[in-house]
């Protein structure tokens, strides 16, 4: 029982990272039907930007905020400069997805060139070694911080989407683009905002992940793939599903790593995904797409 709780809590802290990545992916998929293969690299670029500023003695809070902004600006720039012109030329869904893949490669090159490919330690105000004890469960300061920031991000995100005007416009635009356009909603700006928001969530995940590992241009690759899996698990077009999917994936990994073997961590996670998708192809909370004529 004691182990069980411990594995669960560790899993939740990992899952919180997956949830943030998955939320960004689901947001973009929901509103544009595009799978954003550059999500991990946008987050990497933002995290590296923050790292560079920290190395220049900028206070952590300011540097982290700037990193989030850098990630968001890259995503919005990509939307306006590349995606919109491509859509004007009637690019189909697949070629737009390939464009995100192209951006991923470009960002990898840039980060490697300017940030260096050597793994580096990421200075962070919360320690990975300082442990807190809650009954029998032990969690690091960083783990607590990760859980906390994820809860804050999810709550803010929920309030934004459900309770604000821009959120209403986002929901309208993602559900029925032509109708939103004819009502005079500035759909391009709304979608650009969604791209920025999704990338910002990714950078937050990157900032809390980097101190747990080392920083290198590929450090977001695995969490990106896991976030992707989590989003599919939850139902790609469902925002709550992305969060639940991320947490479940993290906990499953925690159990598999604890009870079976650390080598089984990834295998177990994907077995669960396969099982869920066999039973519910649209994901746990996803809805089948209603094609409109």
């Amino acid at each position: 029982m004691q182990h069980f709780l411990q594995y669960t809590v560790s899993g939740l802290a990992t899952g919180a990272i997956y949830a943030l990545v998955a939320l960004g992916l689901a947001l973009i998929y929901r509103s544009t039907r595009i799978l954003n293969f550059a999500a991990g690299d946008m987050a990497t670029a933002g995290t590296f930007a923050a790292f560079t500023l920290i190395c220049m003695q900028i206070p952590f809070g300011a540097a982290a905020t700037a990193g989030v902004v850098v990630g968001a600006v890259i995503a919005m720039g990509f939307y306006f400069i590349i995606l919109v012109p491509a859509q004007r030329r009637d690019a189909n869904q697949l070629s737009q997805i390939i464009l995100t893949l192209g951006l991923a490669l470009i960002l990898q090159g840039l980060v490697g060139h300017f940030g260096g490919t050597e793994p580096q330690a990421f200075p962070f105000p919360l320690s990975d070694a300082k442990l807190h004890k809650f009954g029998t469960v032990v969690i690091s300061e960083l783990g607590l911080g990760t859980l906390g920031i994820s809860v804050v991000c999810c709550v803010l995100f929920y309030l934004l989407v459900q309770k604000t005007r821009i959120g209403l416009a986002m929901r309208a635009t993602s559900e029925n683009l032509p109708a939103a356009q004819t009502l005079g909603i500035p759909t391009r700006r709304v979608l650009a905002f969604s791209w920025g928001l999704a990338a910002g969530l990714g950078v937050v995940a990157g900032l809390f992940l980097a101190p747990a590992q080392t920083l290198d241009p590929f450090f977001m690759l695995e969490p990106f793939l896991k976030g992707f899996a989590a989003a599919i698990l939850g139902g790609l077009n469902s925002l709550p599903g992305a969060i639940v999917g991320g947490l479940i994936l993290g906990v499953a990994e925690g159990w598999a790593g604890g009870y079976i073997s650390i080598a089984f961590k990834n295998t177990m996670a994907f077995l669960i995904i396969v099982a869920v998708l066999l039973i519910r192809p649209e994901g746990m909370l996803g809805e089948e797409f209603k094609e409109r004529v």
């Binding site: 209403l168 416009a169 929901r171 309208a172 559900e175 029925n176 032509p178 109708a179 939103a180 356009q181 004819t182 009502l183 005079g184 909603i185 209603k290 409109r292 004529v293």
Partner: protein, 265 residues
């Protein structure tokens, strides 16, 4: 309804437009019509005549079309403008599928209809809509997709009215509705018209449309084949037989084909 103000220029005037799909299929083939301010105009015709294409062409929803011809609205040339531009000039289009946000609530759909408005008339306009369709008030927190077909049409019309249209275009508002419901939708249209909004209506249900319209166009294969006041169309033998289904039932496809040979247009 059919006052003779033909000297004032029409609100909407369409001259000889041609709309093609895939650059080679003619859907509108030299079509002309005009709509006078504050009246109800109906475009009638069988399935596939091009009625929907006509409204979409006006709304700017078919890219790079009309290929030829002129569309003028309130002094502006609007052919081949982007849909946002057309809509900002005051043309509001309610499509055949109603164009609702199905996952959003009734209230949210209406709020989106008010997008960009900050004037003092918002409250009155909402009040007008709720008076027109009291059911929408009762359903305000329900998702649009849970509404019945008639209620969805009402929501679409209410949302359109919140945009204060100078020209309201509706594509088959009675489609799929029970006769009683269709009638109440049409009663609401009449009230909207009395309140001063110009309406261009596309219908297969000619009987219903001609009851409220002052003037009608009959469309076939991308062209206007007959036009006239509602009274004259209702009295026309061909229209009676083809569209009003006098003699009990609506014309069968076979009757249609036989009749096509005899008709005078």
């Amino acid at each position: 309804m059919t006052t003779d103000n033909s000297k004032t220029p029409p609100l909407l005037s369409i001259q000889n437009i041609e709309t093609l799909y895939f650059d080679r299929i003619y859907a509108l083939h030299g079509l002309s019509l005009s709509v006078r301010e504050k009246e109800i105009f109906a475009v009638l015709g069988p399935n596939g005549a091009g009625k929907t294409t006509l409204l979409k062409t006006i709304a700017g929803l078919i890219k790079d079309q009309p290929k030829k011809g002129i569309i003028q609205f309130a002094g502006h040339r609007i052919h081949r403008l982007a849909p946002e531009r057309v809509s900002s000039l005051g043309i509001v289009y309610v499509p055949e599928d109603r164009g609702l946000f199905r996952e959003l609530t009734v209230r949210e759909n209406l709020e989106l209809g008010l997008w960009g408005r900050r004037d003092k008339g918002i409250k009155d306009d909402l009040e007008f809509c709720y008076q027109l369709f009291p059911i929408l008030k009762a359903r305000s927190t329900q998702q649009a997709e849970t509404l019945s077909g008639g209620e969805q049409q009402m929501l679409a019309m209410a949302r359109a009215m919140l945009r204060r249209p100078r020209l309201l275009m509706l594509d088959e508002p009675s489609l799929g509705l029970a006769p009683m419901i269709a009638k109440s939708v049409y009663d609401a249209l009449l009230r909207i018209s009395h309140a001063g909004t110009t309406i261009l209506l596309v219908e297969q249900n000619a009987r219903l449309a001609l009851k409220i319209a002052g003037y009608g166009y009959i469309m076939e294969a991308g062209r206007i084949v007959l036009e006239g006041t509602s009274a004259s169309l209702q009295a026309n033998e061909d229209v009676k037989e083809l569209y009003l289904g006098l003699g009990g039932e609506t014309a069968s496809p076979k009757g249609w084909r036989l009749y096509k040979k005899r008709r005078t247009w």
